[in-house]
Structure formats: C-alpha cells, structure tokens
Symmetry: C2
Subunit: 408 residues, 2 copies
C-alpha cells in the first residue's frame, strides 16, 4: 500500500496567523483523495522526537474553522535545531522511523529561517537514503526576515497591531499640556521590520511616531538624544519607536546598557531597549517619559489581525500541500508580489536551502538619511499587508478560539 | 439677554470613551433652542485659568461623529485641584469672570472622584455668590472607582481590552513544552477593578488567568510564591494578573520593592509590581517568566472598545445637558443598574459632593477567600459592561480618529 499520511509541525515563535496556515493545510489534505490521516508534532520536532504527537484527522470542522482567527499555535512548537546527519544521525533515524511507522509520505513544517534549515537537512537525508517522502516548508514569522519571499505571514497582523496601538498611544500622549516622551519598543532582534511598520500610524492629521530606530542602522545614544531634544523645541509630545535589537557602533545591544557613547548615560539593563533609553531622557531632558513594550501582544493580537495576512497564511499552507502532491520536496512556499496597485501576489516555491539561516534586513533604500525613520517606499511596501477586516467568532463580545490542544 | 452658552471641560486621565461623552453633550446642546455656543477648556481647568480654551460650536458634523470611536480626550485635560474658596478665591474669580465674559450659564465637567470635588466647590461658590450657572459632572475613569454609580464609563472598554489580551497572551504562553509564568500588570493604584476584569478571559476551554491579586486584599509575596509553586505542580503555563497598586501588610506598594516578607525577595523597583515580582519567580521557581504591562494601551485601545460603554458614555453626557436645562446643578450623572438579564440601566443624578474624593473598592464579597481571585458574582457584574461591537470608521484598515485639537 502506498503511504498516504501527512505530518504537520511547527518550529520557532508563534504569530497571530500560524493556525490559519494549519487550516489551509488541513483543508487541502482533506480535499485530496490521495491523502488520508494527518498527524501533528506536539511541541515541534523536539516534541515528536520525544514521542509527542497527535492525530488531527478527526477534529471537528468547527474547531478547524476557529483556527482562522486563533493566535499562537494550537499544536505547539519548539526551538530545536538538528545537527547535520554527518555529525549526528540519531534524530534522523528516529524521525524517519516515525514516518515509516505511521505511513507518512508528506511533511509540512511551518517556521522561519532556522526551520527551513531543518526542512533542507531532512530532505537531503531522505534523498540520500532513498526515502520516499516529500517535505515542504511554510513560512511564518512576525519578524518578516525570511529571504526571497516578499513578506512573511504573521508580519502583516503584527504590523497592524503596532500601527493601531501607536496611533492610540500618540493620542493618549497629547492629553496633558506637558512635555513628554513615549518610547515604544517592538520585537525585532536582528531586523527592524516591525518597528518600521509603526510609520503607518503617522498621517497628516497627527504625525507620530516622530522617530523610528532600527537595528539595521547603528544606534547612537547621543544622536537619539539630540533628535528628541531638537524635536521638543517644536512640540510637546514626542513618540519614538525602537526595535528591541538596536545596537551601538560596537555592535552592542542598547538593551544591554553597556553603551559608552556618553559618560552620563551608563544604565543597567531594565528589560529592553526602551527601558534603557528612558532614564536618559528623564534625567536630562524631560520628566515625563514612558517606556512601553508591546511584548507578546504584538504577535498574539488576533483581535487586530490583518484579513489579508490570514488569507495569505492559509494560502501558503494550502499551496504547500498541492506542491507536495505534485512531487515537490525540500521547498518553501513563498509570496511573490506581482503588483502593488492593485495588490496582487502569487505563491511560489523556493528551495528551502536558499532560505535556511539567512536573515532579510530592511534595505538601506527604505531607511531615511538621518537613520531615524523610514521612507515612503517602505510605507508603500507595508501598507497593503495590513489590509482587510477579520471575521472573528465571538461569544459575549470576546473571541472564541480553537482549543485543539492548548489546555496542556 | 439671557446667557445661553456652555463650557465643557475634563479633568484627570483619559479613557477610550470620554470623547463619546463629549459627543453626547454636543449633540444635546445643538438640539436645544435654549443653548447657543459651546466652548471647551483646553487642557482642563488649569488650561482655562491660563486663558486656554476654544470654540467647539462650528466643528463639522464629521469631526464630531468621529469622536464616538476616538480614544484619549480631544480637548485635553489636567490634574488640577482647586482650593476651597475660603482659602483661595483667585481661581474662582477668574473662572466665573470667564463665564460672565462668554455668557456661559452651563458648565459640563467630565472627570473622576477629584473632579467631582471641583464641581461641588464651584457650585457651592456660585450659590453663595448668587451666580446664575448650572454645573454638571459627568463620570469617567477606567479605574471604575467612583462611588454611587454602578460603574464608570471607560471601565467597560478597558475591561474588554484586558480580557481579550489576557486570552491571547494565555494562548501564546502555551506554545512551548516548558514551564513558564506570565505576570501581567493592569492599572489600578487604589482599586482592583481592572485586574479583576481579567477573569472574563477564563473559560472552560482554557482557564486563565490562574490568579488575580487586587489592592483591596493584603498582598503577601510568600503567599503569591506558594500559589504559583503549587499551581505549577498541576500545569506548565501559569498566568497571573496583578493590579499595579497591590500592597503588603504594612501598606507598602509591592512595586516599591521594599517588601521584607521574605529575605531573599529583596528587589529594587523596576517599573511596577509585575517587574518586582518577576525575579522572585525567576530565581526561585522557573526560568521563563515574563512581566507584561498593559500600560496606556488599556485606556486608549479604542479599536477594542465596548459598544455598550461608548453608548453609556454618550448618555451620561447627553443626560447632563438635559439635567442642567431642567435646572439641576452641582450633580453628577450616574448609572444605576436596573437589571442584569436583560441588562438595563437608568441614568440618574447624584450630588457631586457625595461622590467627591471617595474611592469605591471592589467589595469583599467579590474577592475569593484565598485573596487570589474573584467570584462568579463579580463576573456577573462585569460581563454586561464589555458587550457590544463598535462601528469604527477606518481608512486603509486603520482607525480614523477625530483630530479636533490633538495636533498641539
């Protein structure tokens, strides 16, 4: 009998729309007469290798529908990197034994840069050993730092939450007739896509944030202070957005509090870049300073998700199944932007090994000359990604989420 | 000529629905043939006394419509307490001169406990001096701590944001197969209504938060640690919600980091109660601990407002105008709950001086015996307050806010 079962897994951090990718995969699997059962790794590859998995095949349509608007990941994840099989074959043997035992011929692995390394390695091993399996990667990350793909599912929703919240905070900051600075920190250790997306909050009625600092440009505390000081001569309320990963000229994270750019600016780490910068303004310029972190809300705020992001997350999942059925393996589905107006994309397939372990940074052309903001070109890039309303089921005005396995 | 003009002002912190109260006031003023112009204090009473005000009468219908879903306060606010006129009459003279100059006979003052003290004092002064003016207070505060009124406009929206976000965070916290604790801090210096509202996030599918600590009960770090430690024997992910104002048995704020309940638990203030508690868990129980603050988002998140809250905020504004026209003065509009199912309320008027400077705490009956959660009775109280969708105008999938004067 030909093997007809599938395995689904995730690796890396959650987003608001990963579950929508699962739904795309599950729907497509159910549509295919060539496919039968679908198993899920419980807590990623690490969980599977420890014997943790479950069967998604019989889950109710209702639960699967709810996936569309459920944040996080209902199957769980891990951050587990496998060695190359030349160094350590154990995981590979265990993994492919599991596939054999469960008659699995299709693997769908949702993740970011590191996860595509896993896809590439597993595929390469299977080919070398002549194992009949097709392994497809599906992109996800709020960080938006996967190469080749125009953007990553998860990013649009985080961008929408950030832009919406910055709009609200900027208005909140203007209620008193007092000078004040709000320093808002987004996620983004290596790349500044999320911080950059806050530019969408600025419009002609109220232009905020005033400054955006990305890890792609060297961050100078002196320059930051000068920027804010100068702006405060023009207006009372100043909104700054920083990426958690901003670094000084020595490559030290500002959040580490070691930057020696200015003697009086020596502060210990208090939980991030914004908290490190807060006392610098507070002690030297203006008493009212708030450090605000969007924390996990930015990746979990399904109630503020981008409708388009949900749809695209679904598509990269569904297309991965189609590609696998068509014989492709070792690839990742990716989004290619055909045009911006009207916004049109195409789902393409790229070699997982070309994506593996790369990081896509915000390009220079989209960072302004002063290194304290982004350009109109970036705005044109990001605006289409947050479009579209969501259709979230609610009960008593609160979201109804899928609870496949989250109860622990 | 009879004086026919009105003055609008605000005092204290913003909410997501104060602007809806303004709209209620403005609509009602425009409906009345007895009323003419409406002025607004720019940045509250303090601003007005410094000569800052503007005329709202000619603002476009469009801008006024947008008020309904605009957070913050478009006219600005201040935290200014006036002395009793026996001690210092200067502010009173200035204030009533302004009314006289602008032919103002009606004053509408939106605020909390302190603001109602101002309403009471101004009214008392006017009566003593025989000044023909009617002064009405309109309640607002996310803290929900105004006495007599069943609840306060602004609270329902903050409660909805908190419940929604805690649901999302709780799911995010369950993605890894690792023990972890999320300590989420809400606003609420004196009262725990906001922290308590997080109970709405808990349902039979996923019961989180696990613990809620309010300022109304003495907070013991040892007890807190024991609660979390015990729960961790049953499950991996633990969600805790604390009010920023939790205090130890000596009345010291936990956020001050001075609590000496346990020798090893001596930590400096790192920006709030959650940040103070984080290392206690991290160093003694479990390495993965997150301190999350909802910060100003909880009072500014208009995108997640309660439809009912918006309507009620409008009503307490509109009813204040009607009451003033009917001859009432020195009162605050308040909400009286007639029934819970179906939810029915009535807008009543209460003496401002009965409300002034009081603080309504979460009653004992709604705090559980262990002092680490709230009761079903509280849930019945708060659930109706978050109901109702909002109808927010958007452009490019982002909110369109009224920008009356926020540009500074």
């Amino acid at each position: 009998m030909k093997k007809r079962n599938c395995l689904l897994g995730q690796s890396g951090g959650p987003t608001a729309v990963i579950n929508s990718s699962y739904r795309g995969i599950l729907d497509q699997v159910k549509k295919s007469a060539d496919l039968d059962r679908i198993y899920a790794m419980r807590f990623g590859l690490q969980g599977l290798l420890a014997g943790k998995y479950f069967d998604l095949t019989e889950k109710s349509e209702k639960e699967l529908e709810l996936l569309q608007n459920t944040p996080s990941t209902v199957i769980g994840t891990s951050r587990y990197k496998i060695d190359h099989y030349d160094e350590n074959e154990e995981d590979y043997i265990k993994f492919f034994n599991f596939l054999e035992e469960h008659q699995i011929a299709y693997v769908f692995y949702v993740g970011g840069n590191d996860s595509m390394d896993t896809v590439a390695k597993l595929t390469s091993y299977a080919e070398e050993k002549g194992i009949d399996v097709r392994i497809m990667g599906i992109p996800k990350t709020i960080d938006n730092d996967i190469v080749i793909t125009d953007h990553c599912p998860g990013f649009g929703s985080a961008a929408k939450y950030i832009a919406t919240s910055v709009m609200e905070i900027a208005r909140d900051s203007r209620v008193y007739d007092l000078k004040n600075v709000h320093i808002i920190e987004t996620m983004g250790r290596s790349s500044g896509w999320l911080a950059a997306a806050s530019i969408l909050a600025a419009n002609e009625k109220l232009y905020a944030p005033d400054f955006i600092y990305l890890p792609e440009a060297v961050f100078s505390i002196d320059k930051f202070f000068a920027d804010v000081e100068k702006k405060m001569k023009e207006q009372k309320a100043i909104t700054v957005v920083v990426s958690e990963g901003i670094k000084d000229k020595n490559g030290e994270y500002i959040s580490a509090g070691k930057s020696t750019a200015h003697d009086q600016f020596g502060h210990k780490k208090l939980g991030g870049a914004a908290y490190t910068l807060k006392p610098i303004i507070k002690e030297n310029l203006c008493n009212r300073v708030k450090a605000i972190k969007f924390d996990v809300m930015q990746r979990a705020a399904a109630h503020c998700a981008s409708g388009r992001d949900i749809v695209e997350a679904y598509q990269v999942g569904a297309e991965a199944v189609k590609a696998a059925l068509a014989g492709e393996t070792g690839k990742m589905t990716a989004i290619k932007r055909i045009s911006n107006d009207p916004y049109q994309v195409e789902i393409i397939k790229v070699e997982a090994e070309k994506v593996a372990n790369q990081v896509k940074l915000v390009p220079d052309k989209w960072i302004n000359e002063d290194h304290n903001g982004v350009t109109e070109g970036f705005k044109d890039y990001v605006l289409p990604l947050i479009q579209g309303d969501i259709d979230m089921e609610t009960e008593n005005s609160l979201p109804v989420f899928s609870e496949l396995e989250t109860g622990q």
